[in-house]
Amino acid sequence: MDDPLVIAGEEFGSRLILGTGGAPHLDELERALVASGTELTTVALRRVDPRAPGSLFDLLARTGIRPLPNTAGCYTARDAVRTAQLGREALETHWVKLEVVADERTLLPDPVELLDAAEQLVDDGFVVLAYTNDDPVLARRLEDAGVAAVMPLGAPIGSGMGIRNPYNLAIIREAAGVPVVLDAGIGTASDAALAMELGCDAVLLATAVTRARNPVQMATAMRHAVEAGRLARLAGRIPRRLYAEASTSNEGLAEL
């Protein structure tokens, strides 16, 4: 099916964005990335570590998966903008997953700092994919600021709690003129399928795969879940009814 995800004019064959965070071994991460079919993967910027085994940079080059640097760990617009600029230098991309969180316990986005950073980065020529709360108003403000995609959370990062507010997500989807990517909270395949059924354009997840007992198997499950959810959304689900509606006709029923 030719149904690409389009962000800032660029096409991706997969609607699953698989992050690299949380994997204990690079070789298993590589197999999971390949199994997921992802064409875009998030990475972070950290101090060089000469003792680090293997190179994530080489892994990306080898697999040809496009890196999306994030600003994880930033609590202020200032730090996020600096980190985005460093990501641009290191990876020669002006795309960024903007993440500005409020506190360590919830890792929820700080709306004030997030919007400030988004405005600065858009002005600086970045393609900004903004990790945001499941708040339709904030999503609209981010879109007005010029972000290329809004990425509302389903639940806190790494929580695996799924989609806690499907109604807000539906409102965000209805109003948004840019792609909506469900980012954070996915625990298992049905969560990813639900996100797509709700109309999200893509799903971004990391922990659900990298910390699964079998990451490669879970990556495969997520690939299928995202495809299934997308197809179900396009196909159009039946309305929910309180009472039964027979699918077998009573016409021609035998008199016994």
């Binding site: 910027l45 940079f57 990306l60 640097p69 994880a72 230098e89 290191a90 990876l91 990391a206």
Partner: protein, 68 residues
């Protein structure tokens, strides 16, 4: 003559007049996939050879790492 700069939190001696490019080489790093900030400002790759480091400056040398 040497100067001491703070690289990723550690005091690091460098030749007087050393640039960011010299530092990256001294650390034994391939330049690709690396980003550098000095005194909180990003130093773009094409200016690594021009940006001299002075004693006491704070340098961050970053690379791609796993992240969600």
């Amino acid at each position: 003559m040497t100067v001491t700069v703070r690289v990723n939190g550690e005091e690091t001696p460098l030749d007087d007049g050393a640039t960011v490019a010299d530092l990256v080489a001294a650390l034994g790093l391939e330049p690709r996939g690396i980003a550098v900030a000095v005194a909180g400002e990003v130093v773009t790759r094409r200016t690594w050879g021009e940006r001299g480091l002075v004693a006491g400056e704070v340098v961050e040398v970053l690379q791609v790492a796993q992240g969600g």
